[in-house]
Symmetry: C2
Subunit: 279 residues, 2 copies
Amino acid sequence: MQAVRERGLARHLAAWSRSEGTRAACVGRAWCDSVHESPAECVRGAELVVVCVPVDRIVEVLAAAASGMGGGAIVSDVGSVKAGICRAAGTVVPAGAFFIGSHPMAGTEKSGLEHASAGLFEGRSCFVTPPSGAVGDGEEWGGGVVKAVGVLERFWRALGMRTFVVSPQEHDEIVAGVSHLPHFAAVALAGVLMRRPSQWREFGGPGLRDTTRVAGGDPGIWCAIASENRAQILDALDNYRAELDSLRAVFRDGDDKALYAMLSRAKEWRDLLPLLPGS
Amino acid sequence: MQAVRERGLARHLAAWSRSEGTRAACVGRAWCDSVHESPAECVRGAELVVVCVPVDRIVEVLAAAASGMGGGAIVSDVGSVKAGICRAAGTVVPAGAFFIGSHPMAGTEKSGLEHASAGLFEGRSCFVTPPSGAVGDGEEWGGGVVKAVGVLERFWRALGMRTFVVSPQEHDEIVAGVSHLPHFAAVALAGVLMRRPSQWREFGGPGLRDTTRVAGGDPGIWCAIASENRAQILDALDNYRAELDSLRAVFRDGDDKALYAMLSRAKEWRDLLPLLPGS
């Protein structure tokens, strides 16, 4: 909300949080015009509703807010998994309101209000995920969804993000690969090393810190993300295991030429990863 | 050598490099008193010799330098694998000189003179690896090894490092876990993702950048390291695969309690990794 206020994207910013402490902490902040006891009350009259709660809470909060949503309201979330949520959300928001999923790829392994910052989104990627077939084919859905997608794209871009419109399913396949798999890979690394003498921690260089950093993420949040994207993550883990096995085989057989080729292709791929502003 | 000069640890700093270009680049630098055409010439009269070449070159460079090494010379290297090198080096250095392996855990995925810096070692860990049994049991080796270990520890500490004395074998087991395994894990991640649309690169957040960073390392250097530490790395890869498999099984079965426990233990371990100065 800091970023929304700083960039003057909203006349009135209304906040709700399940936690009384967080609600209290919002009162009187420059980026918060009103704090509400209930989701429905919070969204009353809103043109844009963005639900920012852990993925396993999004649908229940949408349901609790539904009675307050007016016709034409554009409703979104920031969950890092989309297929299941978008399916359920479509049945929960009232007729005349449009739910379109969002996933701003920003943030760190730290969570909570105290880690929020206005520059968080600058230059990062953001997915906008209308239901498959809804965009392009105006017929089935009417132009409303198309308009809503446009509004959301402009909103995230105004926060400095680069937006990409994909289906919820395509989104989940992508994040399983670029986000959830790296998380599991890091957790497994920590799992191997925690069985060794704790002094080994002192022997880790920057490489160990970086390869394991995401394993410091909140276990509850990651359990929720993982169970929302189980099938895609299992596929990604199978691909990872196959890749590790062929890497191991090439290495075990002392095939230095093949090993060199695998390491070179990996370097080539990594060297082309775009730099992230502010990281 | 910049760091050695800055901290005034040597009266005379002599340099040799296989590459004529690098030798030329060293001439006239404040941290280089003489540049030599041959290793033997370079080490003549030296009290301390530190061979800084890729692990697969160390023994041949030591052999080429041996004829120049005087009695009492302390000889070391900075290779990131130790058992094989220390075994071979012991047979190559002349009687009266002492070879004790070193492994300063500093540096980045970048290699080469242009990436050298005086602050590189500050606060990092450095292994000193005398032959098993050589330290403690003065009898077998005489006090020379013990003295040499002391000199090397003081040398690396004077560069700002924290030193740890372990056997070459113990060292190789440790680095297989904290350095080589993370490298292979990152390479395999890149290997999975390079098979996906190249646009996926734009969807990676800081987590993907960090978990894959070391995969940007030099393929030649890593092939050499890997083949020097094959057995230990294969063991580490087996442990990693087993850990991934149990993580996958717990996740596939939807055992959220067990998954939460694994993620929590991983976070606990990661949160206790010491911060690295200058990184």
